[in-house]
Symmetry: C2
Subunit: 266 residues, 2 copies
Amino acid sequence: MIIGYFGDPGSYTSMAAKLMLGGRYVSYRSILDIVNAIERNELDFGVVPIENSIEGQVGQTYDIIYYKDIYINSEYYMKIDHCLIGNSEINKIRFVHSHPQALAQCSNFINKNGFIPVPEYSTSYAIKTISEINNDEHAAIGSEEAANLYNLKIISKSIQNNINNYTRFISISKHMNDHGDKYSIGFSLENRPGSLSRILNIISAFNINMTKIESRPYAKNPFSYIFFIDFEDNGYGNVLIDIIKRETINFKLIGLYRKSGIETGY
Amino acid sequence: MIIGYFGDPGSYTSMAAKLMLGGRYVSYRSILDIVNAIERNELDFGVVPIENSIEGQVGQTYDIIYYKDIYINSEYYMKIDHCLIGNSEINKIRFVHSHPQALAQCSNFINKNGFIPVPEYSTSYAIKTISEINNDEHAAIGSEEAANLYNLKIISKSIQNNINNYTRFISISKHMNDHGDKYSIGFSLENRPGSLSRILNIISAFNINMTKIESRPYAKNPFSYIFFIDFEDNGYGNVLIDIIKRETINFKLIGLYRKSGIETGY
């Protein structure tokens, strides 16, 4: 089985991929590249981040699972512990390289130390860059695993603003699972008062636990939206989906998979 | 009146600021820097992007208007027309610098030409960088205004993937307006089935047009959410707010302002 993951070796997504699926792992520079490789049958699965408990939705992942013939097959919640990584001392460092989300998640630490943030493609690419440039003024933010992989030292641990920093990863493929206990759906609605309320009432009437509602812009029509809802099956998930399908526009069943992790519900 | 805007001179936000408010304009490198300056009374207003019709929410703006003593005073929708800007010919260019959102919005053009995207703080900073490095292999993506400001030429116009590319900007200050016809609110909810449905039912019962619902992670409690709702006043907005306040947790009235632009409703 061939599994594509986002980022360079040592990325958080590579770690998630190894915990979620067994096989041969291939690194990709973008989420779109992974999806293109799945469509060309070069990959069985892709592993990508979908949301972070501090920074929120990964918009590109939402857009891809809605617009492409791609389905969610599993989910995994990983605690993110960011480290300052390099080859020098903290007082020599001026520039800190990382993915923009990781820089944002460590903004207090960066500001306190007066570091200049340098955005990179991924945390692991930032760490690889540091190992190559070998300059005392440059450090990176990323995982302990990536630091070990590139023979760099951990200068500071757990430097994120908020200790409750989790990322939800999903595995995606061309195929829908035939069983599971959690559904992801996406749809748009007619623009009239009460249209979304009606959908949530149906969910509520089934006494079904909605773990998430998210909106993304519908690119074809400025400031109209696609709504994404995750809910736990209570035995009537299939019936609920049939009903919602009739009440919405451009409905897509995005995934059926085993619920994992730490979510709450609304 | 002193108005802070995000980005360098010539940024889309600087253009929005000039269309929204009159006074002296000051450039800031981050949205948080603007809010800190408002809190220190160095600025009367800030102008920041809150959402884009292609890329979605500006997460940091949502977090700031919810967690800080900051209110929305007005909104403005601007059509974004990205240009490829530089001093050379299209076939010499290898690297394209811009804000990550602008790079994403022009990804088709970038991929088709085989350019390597280079993320920068802001579109205007990217253009400034190009004017300084003066290297034929480097170009930037940004506004025609910024190209003129830095004496660079427009190599290609309207290079965004989707022609329907609008950004919604807001002006923010320490004070709430005392009139307007559109409200923004934020709140969290108890984790039980139907809790969000109940709020949307109340809005629907008032026959009020909800123009937006957005969720952001509630940082203190992983994978619980803050809900953001915008709605148009129909004369009973104040009553609606009193009722919603009693039904939610951590309610904040974020803004009352004049409705502008091209939104639809749910």
